[in-house]
């Protein structure tokens, strides 16, 4: 496959010319006449026509509340919503569809687990005699819920540090994960460093000491094969909007026996079996964890996104992104004064690449790139401890997806040259 403007041949590239036709926004011009170069996919992905059509069709033809009415629309809406659950379950190779809980985003999924463990009975209960383990490269959404749980229960919060080249430092794994550890929660692919973490080593140690494992797969589910059985974790969280789906829909997968044992998080309609004024009993999972009217149209949209990704094939998407990432790392390292924050190689890394450019502040980098139509993210990427670890105030981050092209990498590199000329 060649890139039209550079004539570049990279093995593994998808037919982006065809794929991009499905994404209306990629044709947009910005700042009057600049072609949009969208490199902010780790923040959120763009949506293909197929997803937009599914959401529209739901509202235009099938809209009703789910699991309640006996009329035609209610039955269709319920079938579409539950059909989306089947699609997601297949997408992540869940042993049972009942293990797939719809939430509003990954943050809610992570908070859900943290709260369940605070309220749970033994043997799951997190209390003052126990420990929680996370890592220094977590998104704030996988730090703050555990800080809250630690403050409320008195449990000790511990974490793995980072090596200078942006990997987890697991050299002290036996001191960090101990017999006191109740839960280990870590990110599969870092949103700021791009690092793909070694799941097996962490899961093995956690299982040895009887700790539960929660994996934040927000930056993994959109980009690679996600097989919850192969991961060996107890819970896996991710969000829909980074994987071509709408905002407002997230997923928590959990092992069935845990979902049966653990207490609910939010109370309300839909999550009950019977209610009296004195007490209630709860519906079985997943409904036990889906209080209130769920994000129905958003779930339908996520189902369409899963169909779209599956049709292209997650292995193919991963190969495409690997090729783009290797090319981008190589080209970026040619830019004088540019330093990659995170692994400076394409190995075991995702398609989000953070960097600094000499002393030029990332806000200025991002603004001058924007003037050229290039959309990147600047700041601490909701992972401020990583910036503190590497002694930098912020980074510029370019992140790629299945529709990204080598020509867009070239545009970024040329854009950075302009930034350097401007502030140099």
């Amino acid at each position: 496959m060649t890139s039209a403007s550079t004539g570049l041949v990279l093995p593994g590239l998808l037919d982006t010319e065809t794929i991009r036709k499905d994404f209306p926004v990629l044709d947009r011009l910005v700042h009057d006449d600049r072609k949009l170069v969208y490199l902010d996919n780790a923040a959120t992905s763009q949506k293909p026509r197929q997803v937009l059509d599914a959401v529209n069709a739901y509202y235009e033809r099938h809209n009703a509340n789910v699991h309640r009415g006996v009329h035609v629309l209610a039955e269709e809406a319920t079938a579409l919503y539950e059909g989306a659950r089947d699609k997601v379950a297949a997408f992540i190779n869940a042993p049972s569809r009942d293990e797939v809980i719809f939430t509003k985003n990954a943050s809610e999924s992570l908070n859900l687990v943290a709260n369940m463990l605070g309220w749970a009975d033994e043997p799951y209960r997190v209390d003052r005699d126990t420990e929680i383990v996370i890592t220094e490269m977590e998104h704030h959404s996988n730090i703050v819920p555990w800080q809250l749980l630690s403050q409320r229960t008195g449990a000790k919060l511990k974490w793995f540090g980072l090596t200078d080249d942006g990997r987890l430092d697991l050299s002290d794994i036996e001191q960090v994960i101990t017999e006191k550890t109740k839960i280990v929660s870590f990110v599969l692919v870092s949103n700021i460093l791009g690092t793909v973490n070694p799941v097996e080593a962490i899961v093995r140690r956690a299982q040895d000491v009887g700790a539960l494992v929660l994996i934040d797969a927000s930056q993994a589910a959109p980009h690679m094969v996600l097989d919850v059985q192969a991961l060996g974790a107890d819970f896996v969280a991710f969000t829909g909007h980074k994987m071509l789906g709408p905002t407002g829909i997230g997923v928590l997968w959990g092992r069935q026996e845990l979902l049966e044992d653990l207490p609910p998080f939010l109370g309300g309609g839909e999550m009950i079996e019977t209610v009296s004024m004195h007490s209630s009993t709860y519906a079985p999972a997943p409904h036990k964890f889906e209080a209130g009217t769920p994000p129905i149209a958003q779930a339908v949209g996520l189902g369409a996104a899963v169909d779209y990704l599956t049709a292209i094939g997650m292995e193919n998407i991963a190969a495409h992104e690997h090729a783009i990432t290797e090319y981008a790392v190589r080209r970026l390292l040619e830019v004088p004064t540019l330093q990659i924050v995170g692994p400076a190689t394409g190995e075991d890394r995702g398609a989000a690449i953070s960097f600094t450019l000499g002393d030029i502040h990332p806000h200025d980098v991002g603004q001058v790139l924007d003037e050229q139509g290039i959309a990147v993210r600047v700041g601490h990427h909701c992972a401020r401890p990583v910036c503190l670890r590497y002694g930098i105030p912020a980074t510029t981050r370019a992140s790629f997806y299945l529709y990204s092209t080598p020509a867009e990498v070239d545009a970024l590199v040329e854009g950075l040259e302009q930034v350097r000329n401007f502030f140099g």
């Binding site: 502040h361 990332p362 806000h363 200025d364 603004q367 700041g379 912020a394 502030f423």
Partner: protein, 146 residues
């Protein structure tokens, strides 16, 4: 947005560094991590010195430099008027085209008019000005208490 005046102040900031003062404040912009430590020295009712140590983007750095140029040596009442005028310009969402009267008050600071069109960057431009307002209020209340 990046006027030459702004780039000049960014590359060659005026009045940078921390010197003596009666009040010191530390302000941060949590969305981007820009930080400033700023001190104000009052000589009676005159702004004797505004000294600062800061880290951040070109807009926030240049803005602190322009502030130092504009406010040092002014009577506090006049300085507060300049601050209010700058605030009005920055909150205008690009709707105010500075006229001669405004240019007379703000001098180099009118170069920031373009920044007001970018909501994400307005806070960068205002960081040092809000810090100055805070520090001056503290310096004045400290002086009144003595």
């Amino acid at each position: 947005m990046y006027q030459d005046v702004i780039l000049d102040h960014y590359k060659h900031p005026h009045g940078r560094g921390l010197r003596d003062g009666q009040a010191e404040v530390h302000h941060v912009n949590p969305t981007c991590g820009d930080e400033i430590t700023l001190r104000v020295r009052m000589d009676g009712t005159v702004i004797g010195d505004v000294s600062y140590k800061s880290q951040g983007c070109s807009i926030s750095q240049a803005s602190a430099s322009v502030l130092n140029d504009l406010l040092v040596g002014k009577d506090v009442g006049e300085a507060q008027k300049i601050q209010e005028t700058f605030l009005e310009l920055m909150q205008s969402k690009g709707q105010i085209e500075p006229d001669d009267a405004m240019e007379e008050v703000l001098e180099d600071a009118v170069a920031f008019a373009g920044v007001s069109k970018y909501p994400a960057r307005v806070k960068c431009a205002l960081l040092s000005w809000m810090a100055w307002k805070d520090a001056t209020a503290q310096a004045l209340s400290g002086a009144a208490g003595k």
